[in-house]
Symmetry: C2
Subunit: 201 residues, 2 copies
Amino acid sequence: MSSRDQVPYTVFMARWEPNAAERLANAALDLFAERGYENTTVIDIAQRAGLGKSTFFRHFQDKREVLFGRGTMNGLLAEAIAAAPSTAAPLEAVAHALDAAGREVFTSARREFTARRQAVIAANPELQEREALKNLSLIASMTDALRQRGVPDLTARVAAELGALASTIAYERWSQTTAGDDFSEIARQALNDVRASTASC
Amino acid sequence: MSSRDQVPYTVFMARWEPNAAERLANAALDLFAERGYENTTVIDIAQRAGLGKSTFFRHFQDKREVLFGRGTMNGLLAEAIAAAPSTAAPLEAVAHALDAAGREVFTSARREFTARRQAVIAANPELQEREALKNLSLIASMTDALRQRGVPDLTARVAAELGALASTIAYERWSQTTAGDDFSEIARQALNDVRASTASC
DNA sequence: AGAAGTGATGGGACTTGGTGCCATCACCGT
DNA sequence: ACGGTGATGGCACCAAGTCCCATCACTTCT
């Protein structure tokens, strides 16, 4: 308290700096990577971000959600599917969606960040549950978007499911490549591989 | 304490009656159906089963797990896939697995119970997360079982995923039928429908 | 029969996730 | 200078989950 008065205000005033949610997310990822998810308290996260416990829960529904940020993916994929040419087959529309994901989310700039995040998730069942649910939500969004294109119900579900599988496989390959390969290309290839595999079932 | 001595022993001695886990699971399903998952305390469940909180957590890892019992499904599906004739294509082996599930798990005797359980899950996101994770685990088991039959990696994943989708769809149809339809038949039909849909993608 | 052992249970203390409420603070417009 | 607004902090509180130890019913050995 007394030492605080001797130094420039901004050094200590994390309280009113902007981007509280982003600071919290970064602090969380750092701590999870350092000591693990279970050995990190919400209070720990808030403190590292220069905030309080209350503020954490004002920005995130729960402790897990801090790793899954603003779920902008659903809308992104749905819009990309809707924007696909009306002549495109279901899986081609899904390919458009994966392309959009590569352009907007899985950019080469965020590759390292995404990898760290994924490592944390892989190390904790609680986080895997949340991720599984988010994935279900993505599939539901894609299914809806396909239905609105006039795709029959069952076909829409199958296409969305195959798209999600291709996305998962693409992500695995993308995070293993050392070079700065483009996610969109990898995803397109993965989707073709998946489509080919459906034939040999 | 004093009143306990005045009445027959067995009336109050839930403590040493057998099947503690089963009693807990039944009590939990009842209470969840009555007041909802969130309005039910672990202590409530334990009390209705005539047990204590400690005992609950000795039988189940957490509050959610009480609805997902002994995960015997993984082994069942894996064994059924392994037992399928070596000439069977991947999806045919998966069909064998769904058949086994219909014979051992989704029996007409358990239809009502399964329906109540599913209604409770559908009403709560926390439980949906757990179910999503269990489903991932099932898919992983089936994928492994297929790989051990010599099925290539990607094909195994696709087949397992399509099988899981067929299973979900079959379950939806099965729980909607008023008659005592056989799950195995419905599942076989659902798998055929899914396979047909993959063609029109 | 009595003693010792075994396994399931009960219960309380404790940590943590999560909610609710209210006072406080910085900033903005009047 | 004044009041309004929105973000924050802190506290009290409940429930989930962990730990530890005493207790109890039942078994086995002496």
